[in-house]
Symmetry: C2
Subunit: 414 residues, 2 copies
């Protein structure tokens, strides 16, 4: 079927007409649809049986950025990157991503499991909902997917062949510009920040040492093909059910259209940064100090658990490597230390770009009081700079924890 | 024309029948040929006008390793990698490579300028011929080609697209195994070394710290796509005319079929290692101490000049970068320092693998006295280990020079 943009009506015809229709719905089922587009990029529909249990999610890439309109063209090839990444994630971490149903290249459509009981985590986290197992689940997901797509698990030629499926030119370029270049220079830029931050922004742009570190992290983002990354692992790419009576919730990792072969620390760091952004932003959301610090302690715990689960999951998998080089204990140790350092550096970049760059986060933007918002943004910038400046010296997760405890003044309550 | 292996007769028909024939020879010229295969991999013919000036080199990839025979299959796709790399080198460093005439994918043939006045440098260097400008020429070639194919010169998408032309699966795998894995482990291996070296080899294989460093260098070789490398830059990939009356010689860089996107220090380090291999080996070739030390001083000078020319050529080109990140002085400095450190580490690996691995070098193999040869091999192993062990601490070329001076006891004569 030649490409055409779907709407609530035509998505029903599309699903009905697809050869795989009866793998997901009862034959002749009456379908209804609902548009639930939410992220910045794509059209998303829920298609479900009237009165029935079954439903699927239909996600279509538009030839432009959805939130920006036709003036910001963007190739719909991203649907293919998402499909291929989803397939790899589903293989390496089954049950952690929406189950893929089909990919339609011509229509730039991915059809997948509809996570009806799940919600995107960012907004509830702003409201201080605690999702049990968050850090551990994300850490284990990262260990599974990053190891499985690295040279540690794949033969050299397999890995390079897989790499040819993920030459994600356009979205990599977008990340390079929006994360690593524009927030650190006055031009060319699509930066957006409150004029009250001008002094902090100018001070950042004059910090030669931080700019040198950012350039290095950017170069590694562009050249270091350690593993297939999710590429956009913020809390808006996570969905979860609310905790059940036993305090359990089901967490899924979605939207891997930015997937590319890059440095592992970029995925880890983005997740860390989004926890820290939330933690700082709580000063504008939490009605009192105790609530604020309680949630911050929860976040810091998830951050550390994410790293520790990633690290132990990775070390366990290292023992399965068939090449003797990867079994060297000294190598394993220094490799994981370098991933931690990268993570901290990338976390710092993400925090800064989400504050003064083009794409902001709800955590900060939704702080109702403007003075409080600016104050929180200032602290995010400060912590981000500190992380970039010190990332090459961070030898263990404890050191990172201490830096965060100090910045958020968590000592007394820890 | 379907693929068939050329011989002295059929190469003439092949050249005569090619549409580009009259761009290289006079119409109707009577041609003769000569087989001059020399490296490990390919068939090479010189085709020339009888009694005339004009000639070309015809290089054909065989579907197996020439020196090993049909039992070691090797895809003839390598002719394409050579053609595309030669084109890039010719663009970035015109006059430094044989001028390409045509590439015939089906026949796996590259036709190029015939360097009749040039000879491969390894053998004359074993005989202590000094080629003026060697270090500077190689350093400038590396600055030109590595910069031009990096993210510093190309737009992100251009670079990634160029990368898709150099997914050199088979030859990368060969380098990974023969340089980074086999020489450091007892199995699986095609290692070849004198039993007199058994104690040194066992000691190397038990050195956990060196093995961890080698694993790291290997991972970076496999994942860090900084620039299009030559990939096999030893002194057998260099040709030169003998010095003329003015002491000038013309130096060319040949045989880039191992080209791939990798860490810049690998090219620099291979060249350094082959100078050092020669320097150590001179104890088995030079009839007296003065001749030996004089040539060693020449080699060390070329090594340092190579680095200094590379560094200054690179710094000069950095100023042309259009992206502000690459203009940060702190970034430029730390990037070049990391390339130097990589170079030293890769040099160490190359020295070791050329001594105990599968592919040896004439410099050591041709030492007539067996005791002298083993002694030289022992010293190569020792220096190689020292370079691997210390490479992350080498902050400037002076430090490397001092290490070499000490190992070769050049103090008194320097």
């Amino acid at each position: 079927m030649p490409y055409h943009i779907l709407n609530r009506e035509s998505v029903l015809e599309y699903v009905r007409g697809h050869p795989l229709f009866d793998t997901v719905f009862y034959p002749g089922a009456a379908l209804e649809s609902q548009e639930i587009s939410d992220g910045n990029l794509n059209l998303v529909f829920r298609v479900y049986e009237r009165g029935g249990e079954r439903s699927v999610l239909v996600k279509q890439a538009l030839p432009y950025l959805r939130v920006a309109g036709e003036g910001w063209p963007l190739s719909k090839a991203r649907a293919g990157f998402e499909a291929r990444a989803l397939e790899q994630h589903h293989l390496a971490a089954p049950g952690r991503v929406p189950q893929p149903k089909w990919f339609d290249e011509e229509m730039a459509v991915n059809v997948m499991e509809d996570l009806r009981r799940h919600q995107v985590m960012r907004a509830p986290m702003v409201a201080r909902v605690q999702f049990p197992g968050l850090g551990r689940t994300v850490g284990e997901f990262l260990a599974a997917t990053l190891f499985a797509t690295s040279d540690f698990a794949l033969l050299s030629a397999e890995k390079k062949r897989l790499g040819t499926q993920f030459v994600n030119l356009e979205l990599c370029e977008l990340s390079e510009a929006l994360i690593f270049t524009e927030p650190f220079y006055s031009r060319p830029s699509r930066n957006r920040y409150s004029s009250a931050l001008e002094a902090e922004v100018q001070s950042l742009w004059a910090d030669a040492e931080v700019l040198a570190q950012v350039a290095y992290l950017k170069l590694r983002f562009m050249t270091d093909t350690q593993a297939l990354l999710h590429g956009d692992l913020h809390t808006g790419s996570l969905m979860a059910t609310l905790p059940d009576a036993q305090g359990q919730c089901d967490i899924r990792i979605i939207d891997p259209e930015f997937a590319f072969f890059g440095p592992m620390g970029f995925d880890v760091g983005l997740f860390m940064a989004n926890l820290l952004l939330n933690a700082v932003a709580q000063q504008g959301h939490a009605p009192n100090l105790e609530q604020r610090q309680t949630y911050r302690r929860y976040l810091l715990e998830q951050l550390a658990l994410c790293w520790r689960s990633f690290e132990s999951g990775f070390l366990m998998r290292f023992e399965t490597a068939s090449n003797p080089s990867w079994l060297e204990p000294g190598f394993q140790k220094s490799f994981l230390c370098s991933v931690l350092q990268d993570s901290v550096g990338y976390a710092g970049c993400e925090m800064i770009r989400r504050t003064i760059g083009f794409a902001h986060v709800l955590d900060l933007d939704s702080i109702p009081d403007e003075l409080e918002r600016v104050k929180a943004e200032r602290e995010v910038l400060e912590l981000g700079r500190a992380l970039i400046g010190s990332h090459r010296k961070i030898e263990s997760i404890d050191v990172l924890e201490r830096i965060v405890v100090e910045h958020l003044q968590l000592e007394v309550l820890l």
